[in-house]
């Protein structure tokens, strides 16, 4: 199943790469030559059920486009990663909080004071 998720991402990448111009299933499949045309159609249908892709039909030709840009989803992801403390607690554990400039000076000094640490000198 992991392979399917990977393929969904690649199909989305192709649609995002088309600058918002809807693409036919054949056009998407041409960009992913290692996968069969029917597989691509299945994936597009799956993405449509997830509301990630919308389909327009013009003179019996189905065309597919991403419902939102890659940047929109990335912004959503970053809001969750950087969001308010309460949201974040529910979603994930972040490595480090951002400190105030005054504290930054103290922290860098603590690293610089290390006698035998090569990594402390860089910053």
């Amino acid at each position: 199943m992991a392979g399917l998720g990977e393929l969904e991402r690649r199909v989305m990448d192709v649609l995002w790469g088309s600058m918002g111009i809807p693409m036919t299933g054949r056009q998407v499949a041409d960009q992913l030559p290692d996968r069969a045309y029917t597989t691509i159609l299945t994936i597009l249908e799956r993405l449509r059920r997830k509301n990630l892709v919308e389909r327009t039909t013009d003179e019996k030709v189905h065309r597919f486009a991403a419902t939102a840009s890659r940047e929109t989803y990335m912004a959503e992801l970053m809001v969750e990663a950087f969001g308010s403390a309460q949201d974040r607690q529910a979603v994930l554990v972040r490595f480090a909080e951002v400190v105030s400039p005054e504290e930054a000076v103290v922290l860098r000094q603590a690293l610089a004071d290390l006698p035998d640490d090569p990594s402390g000198k860089r910053r």
């Binding site: 950087f82 994930l92 860098r108 290390l114 910053r123």
Partner: protein, 304 residues
């Protein structure tokens, strides 16, 4: 012994645990030398206070049977099973029963609500990651996202995801990056998402209780230290410390509203650079306190 006396003792225990003892634990310095045991102690306080509150309510409700706590609860149970739970119930009995039942109901529903909300939020974030993150080529088990902000985090779940942004990879050298990823593996390996769940349930409505205000932040900070320890066992502590400084002092946006927890970063850096990071004695002492905390309400109830 008179069960009203027991109820009084249990109520006093609850007050001591959620107020002065919690305040003391939140200020204690020794917790940083045994973060995992300290997390267990915070949980033990919550369990103990809950048991004592429910126990106190039941004590008041079962005093009229004059059969001790265990016998009284047995008779109460028979009454409920026999379909006449309220027979012979006086005002104090009813109040006690209400207290015990309310605490139980509130606890189950709030925790249930938060668990569902958290699971849904994590699933939504996982779907976003499926779309945007690519498996790291040279860092096994880590996902990378193409974004200039330096972020590194662990998305908890059955299959936890470790996420590193391209901004982080540019900011850190190889040793620092390896230490950061190991830190996140620590969160994943020790199931910190699960450990944090009950603390997440202590939301706004409970903030008038000192424990509910102090415990979530304290536990979150201690879990970071536990993950630091996990990484420091496998990589140079100084690499992790310098990565921590680099990530927390990077000027890259966004940076609003994060200063609140900066005390944690400071403490962690100094802890990583110090020589006495952890102590088995302190851990054992904290473990002993856990046992005492949970045993105390049970001992009061079963001895009557």
């Amino acid at each position: 012994m008179n069960l009203y006396v027991d109820a009084g003792i249990l109520s006093a225990l609850v007050v001591v645990l959620v107020w002065p003892f919690s305040t003391w634990l939140a200020r204690a310095d020794w917790v940083t030398r045994a973060p995992r045991s300290a997390v267990a102690l915070w949980h033990s306080l919550g369990i103990s206070a809950t048991l004592a509150t429910i126990g106190a309510g039941l004590c008041v409700a079962t005093e009229r049977f004059h059969a001790g706590f265990v016998g009284g609860v047995g008779e109460l149970g028979e009454g409920i099973a026999g379909g006449h739970p309220l027979q012979g119930l006086g005002l104090p009995d009813a109040l006690g029963l209400t207290l015990a039942a309310d605490v139980g109901v509130v606890l189950v529903s709030v925790v249930g609500f938060v668990v569902v909300r958290t699971v849904l939020a994590r699933a939504r974030h996982r779907r976003l990651l499926n779309l945007l993150a690519t498996p790291s080529r040279n860092r096994k088990g880590a996902l990378t996202i193409d974004h200039p902000s330096p972020v590194a985090y662990c998305l908890p779940g059955i299959r936890p995801r470790i996420v590193i942004s391209s901004g982080t990879m540019r900011l850190l050298d190889q040793a620092e990056l390896a230490a950061v990823i190991e830190h996140e593996r620590g969160h994943a390996h020790e199931r910190h998402g699960l450990v944090m769940l009950p603390m997440t349930s202590l939301t706004e409505p409970f903030r008038w209780i000192p424990y509910a205000r102090l415990a979530p932040r304290a536990v979150a900070g201690l879990l970071e230290m536990a993950a630091d320890d996990h990484a420091a066992r496998r990589h140079a502590p100084s690499s992790l410390a310098s990565a921590l400084v680099a990530l927390s002092t990077s000027s890259a946006p966004p940076r609003c509203a994060f200063a609140a927890a900066s005390h944690g970063v400071n403490a962690r850096v100094h802890r990583l650079l110090g020589s006495d990071r952890s102590s088995k004695t302190v851990a054992a002492a904290a473990g002993f306190l856990c046992t005492v905390a949970v045993a105390a309400p049970l001992a009061v109830l079963l001895s009557s």
